[in-house]
């Protein structure tokens, strides 16, 4: 039976205030939240207008033990849960979270760097919420969500892609309730970065205006409670709106600039209509991405004209209300769209005064009552990463096309793995120290990269490109999706940028480092290298990051939105990771850090000639604390016939904190299966890092192909995530 995602709860926090009613009131009364920056000193740009949340987050009830971004996300999540009227009984294994986040704990981590650079003090405590998935973990633990959990980090399209993935979770029957949306806080990193790119209009953004001069930054969070329609009806929930369509694409054009004709934006809008089963003429209103930069607004308007022809529906950008809150913007604007449907009012586009002849379109100028049935929301990010959502009234009865679940074939795997254990020397501003690590240096095959790839890309991007090339040879007309996860992202580029920013007090920024620092930069580089123009995503979820990528890639094939999907993961070694980990006892003599990239090429039966192996089960979730092995094995046994498993590949042999759990699960599996099953681990070869389970997947595929075994890959993440994946030989056993 088809399952349809509906929206039953909303929560939001942004510069104009906290709460859906406050925000909708600000929007309908044209009250923007832009003011000069107070969050941190900015000698060069402090007077610029910015959408800062100037509220006491702790006073509002946000958890103390969390980053600024975590607190914003948590506050919006609390409101969404309350408004949906869900209680703990609806949670548990059937409730999950897919969240969008791009900045992560950077604002807090920057305090560590400032102390280090300015005062020579090494105090890494503020970095403990650095990971982008920290907010999702906090919300899941706080409200008791033990279903699928992942974070999507594709810059400004993060939360729109997260909402799409959450909808797919519900469609696929993997959860009944999904919290979804996104959060991002302001940080020096993004503040300095967008200024370095000369993309900020200090007077406040003027989307679509003839004299627009750039974006305004912002911060905040938006959360939606997405539920399966049948479950929502059963518990008598009020359905606020339907999520009737979603679509994604990649420009595969440039790291920051959109495709000049808006080709990727158009493709994503078409994909969303396709999924919803609507034609363009049925869209009543478009909430545009409309950042206020010269390039975005022009490209987006071209895409709108290509899609709608002479009859572009009323549209507006909400960016001047909130500032551009990056990963949160898609979710905040989703809240605006749902409220627009509920109130049958189209929000205005503050900042617009004069029509731009090159655009030739005028947005909605004031709050306007209108008959709204289907509305579209656009979100476009760095790397030409496009995501489009369509919301409909509950009465419209518009239901998204269901995907057919099918086993997924693995046709090849590319990997860049550590050549062995090597001494890695840390450099300034840290004290020089020698540490052992599984390193990919020197990078094999780096000479095959183009001169521009060699001169401008960091190692993490180079590793990703080389692994992807080894897995896939581009063929024209083939629709290729990329889901390349990363646990900690582009640490080297991010650190270089922010060290320089802090040391030079905003002077002499490094514009080319900033776009290379976002989590989706390696995935975007693969897209440009291989011409991959379908979905382009960067999931992140600690040690189960690879499995999340596999999950998302697989859905693209099942929904027939791609012919080939590349699922992978990449992480790199970096000074701070080594030294802070050493301080915290994360790295020991037995647990050495590692790095590398894995890319698996997937395709469905129809377009594949030679599958080498097949993924027949894949499930994501979170474990409870204290760890209950019997309960975990019940969870596994719901998806896997344990008596047929020949080999168990686990993430044991890495972080000591997970060792007792892995051992207990193995014992319980043997008890359940009624026999001992052979076991393998992989971290002795690749080291311990968030992408390591990609190497576990390689071991599983090798065993399935070489020894014709049915393999269960089981992974636990120190932050609570868990994943199972069954790999079998392609031909039936």
């Amino acid at each position: 039976m088809a399952r349809h995602p509906v929206i039953t709860g909303l929560g939001v926090i942004a510069s104009p205030g906290c709460g859906v009613n406050t925000i909708w009131d600000a929007v309908t009364n044209h009250r923007d939240g832009l003011k000069p920056l107070t969050l941190f000193p900015s000698p060069r740009h402090g007077a610029d207008q910015v959408g800062e949340v100037q509220l006491d987050l702790l006073n509002l009830g946000a958890p103390r033990n969390a980053s600024r971004g975590d607190r914003l996300g948590w506050l919006a999540a609390r409101e969404a849960i309350q408004s949906a009227g869900i209680t703990a009984e609806h949670f548990g294994d059937r409730a999950g979270i897919v969240f969008g986040c791009s900045v992560g704990g950077s604002f807090d981590s920057e305090r560590f760097l400032i102390q280090l650079i300015k005062e020579g003090k090494f105090r890494p405590r503020p970095t403990r919420f650095h990971e982008c998935h920290s907010t999702a973990d906090l919300i899941a633990d706080s409200f008791g969500l033990y279903g699928p959990s992942m974070t999507i980090s594709t810059a400004c399209s993060s939360s729109a892609l997260a909402i799409a993935a959450a909808a797919e979770m519900i469609q696929a029957g993997e959860a009944d309730v999904m919290l979804t949306g996104g959060a991002d806080s302001l940080a020096r990193m993004t503040w300095g970065g967008f200024h370095a790119l000369l993309l900020v209009d200090g007077q406040g953004c003027r989307p679509f205006d003839a004299h627009r001069g750039g974006m305004s930054l912002g911060e905040g969070a938006g959360v939606l409670v997405l539920e399966a329609e049948e479950t929502a009806l059963r518990r008598g929930a009020k359905i606020l709106a339907r999520l009737s369509g979603w679509g994604a694409s990649c420009d595969a054009h440039h790291v920051t600039a959109p495709h000049p004709e808006g080709a990727g934006a158009l493709a994503a809008m078409r994909a969303a209509l396709r999924r919803a089963g609507l034609n363009a003429a049925q869209i009543d209103y478009v909430n545009a991405h409309g950042t206020g930069t010269r390039d975005n607004d022009l490209a987006e308007s071209k895409a709108l004209k290509s899609l709608f022809g002479e009859r572009v529906p009323p549209f507006s950008s909400s960016k001047r209300f909130f500032g551009h809150s990056l990963a949160a913007s898609g979710a905040i604007e989703a809240v605006v769209c749902v409220e627009a449907l509920r109130h049958q009012q189209m929000p205005a586009n503050p900042g617009f005064k004069e029509i731009d002849p090159a655009i030739g379109l005028t947005p909605v100028l004031q709050t306007t009552a209108a008959k709204l049935t289907h509305v579209m929301s656009n979100s476009f990010g760095f790397g030409g990463n496009n995501a489009v959502l369509i919301f409909s009234t509950p009465e419209a009865g518009q239901r998204p096309r269901a995907a057919t679940l099918a086993p997924v074939n693995i046709t090849s795997i590319g990997l860049v793995g550590p050549g062995g254990v090597a001494a890695v020397e840390t450099t300034a501003p840290l004290a020089v120290a020698k540490l052992s690590a599984h390193s990919c240096n020197p990078l094999p095959g780096a000479d095959k990269l183009s001169p521009n790839q060699r001169r401008r890309l960091g190692r993490i991007h180079q590793m990703a490109i080389l692994a992807a090339r080894a897995s896939h040879a581009p063929a024209p007309e083939q629709r290729v999706a990329v889901a390349l996860g990363t646990g900690l992202g582009c640490l080297a580029e991010g650190a270089a940028f922010i060290e320089n920013y802090v040391a030079k007090d905003e002077a002499e920024p490094m514009p080319s480092r900033f776009p290379g620092s976002v989590h989706n930069a390696p995935a975007g580089q693969i897209a440009m290298d291989l011409g991959a123009r379908a979905l382009n995503s960067a999931p992140t979820a600690g040690s189960i990051t690879f499995e999340c990528a596999l999950w998302q890639a697989r859905r693209q094939l099942e929904a027939d939105e791609a012919d080939v999907a590349l699922a992978g993961t990449v992480d790199e070694l970096q000074n701070y990771l080594l030294v802070i980990g050493k301080r915290w006892g994360v790295w020991t003599e037995k647990t050495l850090p590692g790095e590398g990239a894995v890319v698996a090429r997937l395709s469905t039966g129809a377009t594949t000639t030679d599958p080498v192996a097949r993924v027949t089960a894949l499930r994501l979730g979170r474990f409870r604390r204290p760890f209950d092995a019997a309960r975990e094995v019940e969870w596994i046994a719901e998806s896997v016939e344990l008596s047929t498993i020949d080999l168990l590949v686990t993430g044991a042999g890495g972080w000591p904190v997970l060792e007792p759990s892995y051992a207990a699960v193995a014992r319980e599996i043997f008890r359940h299966a009624g026999r001992t099953i052979a076991q393998e681990t992989y971290k002795a070869a690749c080291g311990e890092f968030y992408s390591a389970s990609g190497f576990g997947f390689v071991a599983a595929v090798q065993a399935a192909v070489g020894r014709r075994l049915r393999v269960l890959l089981y992974t636990l993440s120190p932050r609570g995530g868990k994943a199972l994946c069954v790999v079998e030989p392609a031909a039936a056993l």
Binding site: L198, A257, M510, P511
Partner: protein
């Protein structure tokens, strides 16, 4: 005194990490962007930073520096003109 074009070329190579290129290989009038050295808009931003760092010239929007980035000659003329207008 006009800016040294050899020095300017060295600065460009350094700013853009043009590993395999020497100052002699860059012709004064050759286009820097598009076909020439294969540079793009992000490289232009690096040149904006380089101009401030080494020549004290502040460019606020990329359009302002656009024509100056056509070639080394254009950039040298731009630096000379800016310096003349501020002294």
């Amino acid at each position: 005194m006009p800016v040294s074009k050899t020095e300017l070329k060295t600065r460009i190579i350094e700013a853009l990490n043009l590993q395999d290129i020497t100052p002699e290989q860059i012709e004064d009038e050759a286009p820097l962007f598009g076909t020439g050295l294969g540079l793009d808009s992000i490289d232009a931003l690096e040149l904006v930073v380089m101009l401030e760092k080494h020549y004290g010239i502040i460019i606020k929007g990329i359009e302002e520096g656009g024509p100056a980035f056509r070639s080394v000659q254009a950039l040298a003329d731009f630096i000379d003109a800016r310096r003349a207008s501020t002294t």
